[in-house]
Amino acid sequence: MVLNTCSQVMSLAKELEGQSAHFYKDLAKRFSRDKDLYLSFADENEDYVTQIERAYYGVITDAFEGCFAFNIDPEKYSFKTELSEKEALSDALKRALEIEEKMIHFYSDAAEQSKSLMADVPRAFRMVAKKRDLRKEKLLSLLPVKA
């Protein structure tokens, strides 16, 4: 089902951030070496939700097209969060990178589609996408270097 309303897209952002936070908490449990980093990612996800909701609740008015702003297919951004017992660190990190890619993709699309709304909303989306790009760099640095 395609999402059209601002409310739907806000809920999707919250859901994806929650799922991603869940993944990092599991990662922290399984791989204790960089536990603090993974948990900090999970905490950041909550901050992102706060920042996005603040932008939305701060500017939503009847002056813009709140019910007709988006054309987002949530299937495009779905990801698996469960870590299997056998999953190696390198595979888990690759999955983390895939999650970040999907999230960046989601926020970039949402920013593009909400350009006609007040500047705050697309700016919040872009900011989260940018921060996730930085997160990707940190994740890449954790991947074991191939011989």
Binding site: T5, C6, S11, C67
Partner: protein, 496 residues
């Protein structure tokens, strides 16, 4: 998509808020407040007795001297506390609006935000209420103007924005040192009760803000009462004219914001996709129940190709609008607020058909997302080949109906707008600055949109309106509201 949690869990027995107390009405007459989407009973609202209305006026009158003496900064601090409480309760207030009015949750949140913005502007009262002066108007003589509050003001609220519209006035009235009475619409009064609960919590002194439920009788008592210094009204032109007349008879100030028939012009150089999104919100947002809604869509020019392309795109996107219960986040248009409202819209659709307008999208048999009774639901409707003399092009329908007209050029379209009895809002969609300027210059409407579907002025600007869409001198919101709620006292001073 799941339905968001409903904040009203049981049937509420609504009370009046008089002199800082919640008072049960002695009236035996009550109205049922129903959720227009589900038809569930939400509340019973009393038609207050004359004594109860008089008690509210008396309380507001008695509270005035002390409130007036309260420094503007202290009054502003009450509004700051209210703003904080409104933010804290933002989502709950928004969902109440959806439950009692039917609008979508995005629309309700928009309404809550707009209401809060009025409070925010009111907090600036120490600056906004300053007068002005000039030294030496003659040798050693100075002259200055002081803005002073007048006393008790009352507001008769409409049903279409049950939370926001009273806030177009009350923060300005209270900030300037007046006291205030609201009579909510009996169709959806719960939002005003929830607001009054927060006003109480914010620490406004007893009697400064009061809520009295009721209908025409309560309104008449207020309009005729000599202790009420001014009234604000939002509703239909026919009732508004009476309100304005009665206020004149008792020498009250009045802001009367009434009906509309808003034209939206699309020029051949308009950005089609962006324009259509704006039109959907304008024509079908709030299910067309707002004075800033688009009513007549005028496609300008002789280019048949553009006309067909634009109209097809508009009809196609409109036909996909999801209609249902506003607490379902996927819903883009809620039900009409009442069965009466729906019947009025159906009546106008019949008139349009009889007048030979071409019904190209028929919303009479609604397709509803979810399992809800169709009592108040109606789908978007579009008429083509509408001419300016047709009833559906002239009279306010106040529902989800778009009348598509075709003008040969901008001059003809402007002439149609200016021939209308109403003058609330008009918009042009174009990428041509000259056309936009001409439109802004020539059109006799109080709110002009250039590539904007809903021309809703922000809290710090006045809400315009002309002709049969507004009766009064000063408008609501912005500096106009500060002037409306204050008297200008002039002092000429010399010291020997």
């Amino acid at each position: 998509m799941a339905i968001l949690e409903e904040p009203i869990k049981e049937v509420l027995e609504l009370k009046n808020y008089i002199n800082g107390e919640w008072v049960e009405s002695k009236s035996k007459e009550t109205w049922d407040v129903k959720n227009p989407a589900t038809q569930k009973l939400l509340a019973r609202v009393p038609m207050s007795t004359k004594d109860e209305v008089l008690a509210a006026i008396q309380a507001a009158k008695e509270a005035f001297p002390e409130w007036r003496r309260t420094p503007p900064l202290s009054r502003a601090r009450c509004l700051f506390r209210l703003k904080e409480l409104l933010e804290k309760n933002f989502e709950r207030l928004s969902r109440v609006q959806t439950m009692e009015h039917g609008k979508t949750i995005d629309e309700s949140r928009g309404e809550t935000r707009r209401g809060i913005e009025m409070v925010e502007v009111g907090t600036g009262i120490p600056s906004l209420m300053m007068g002005y002066n000039l030294e030496d108007i003659a040798a050693g003589i100075d002259e200055y103007v002081i803005y002073q509050p007048l006393g008790v003001f009352a507001h008769l609220a409409p049903f279409n924005f049950p939370f926001m519209v009273p806030l177009w006035y009350s923060p300005f009235a209270l900030a300037t040192g007046n006291t205030f009475i609201v009579k909510p619409s009996p169709r959806d009064p719960i939002s005003q009760v929830k607001l009054a609960e927060l006003i109480d919590e914010a620490g406004f002194p007893p009697g400064v803000y009061n809520v009295v439920h009721g209908g025409a009788e309560a309104a008449n008592i207020m309009m005729e009462h000599p202790d009420i210094k001014g009234m604000t009204f939002v509703g239909t032109t026919s009732i508004g004219r009476e309100v304005y007349k009665k206020c004149g008879e008792t020498c009250k100030r009045a802001i009367v914001q009434v009906s509309a028939k808003n034209f939206l012009l699309v020029m051949p150089d308009a950005d089609i996709n962006a324009t259509i999104a704006a039109l959907l919100t304008s024509f079908f947002g709030n299910t067309g129940q707002r004075c800033l809604s688009g009513a007549n869509l005028v496609i300008v020019g002789k280019d048949d190709g553009f006309y067909k392309k634009f109209l097809n795109a508009f009809v196609e996107t409109t036909s996909k609008i999801k209609v249902g219960y506003g607490l379902d986040e996927s819903i883009q248009m809620g039900p009409m607020q009442s069965l009466d409202g729906k019947q009025r819209v159906l009546k106008y659709i019949d008139i349009g058909i009889k007048e030979k307008a071409k019904l190209i999208l028929d919303g009479r048999k609604p397709t509803i997302t979810g399992n809800y009774p169709d009592t108040c639901f109606i789908n978007p409707t579009i008429f083509e080949s509408v001419t300016p003399d047709m009833t559906i092009a002239r009279e306010e329908i106040f529902g989800s109906v778009a009348s598509v007209m075709r003008a040969k050029d901008l001059d003809e379209a402007i002439q149609w707008i200016n021939n209308s009895n109403y003058g609330n809002a008009a918009s042009i969609f174009t990428s041509n600055g000259k056309a936009a300027r001409e439109f802004q210059y020539q059109v006799e409407c109080g709110n002009i949109g250039i590539n904007i579907g809903i021309v809703a002025p922000m809290a710090f600007f006045p809400f315009g309106g002309m002709k049969d869409s507004f009766f009064g001198v000063l408008h609501g919101q912005g500096k106009d509201a500060i002037r409306f709620f204050t008297e200008s006292k002039v002092v000429v001073q010399r010291w020997f």
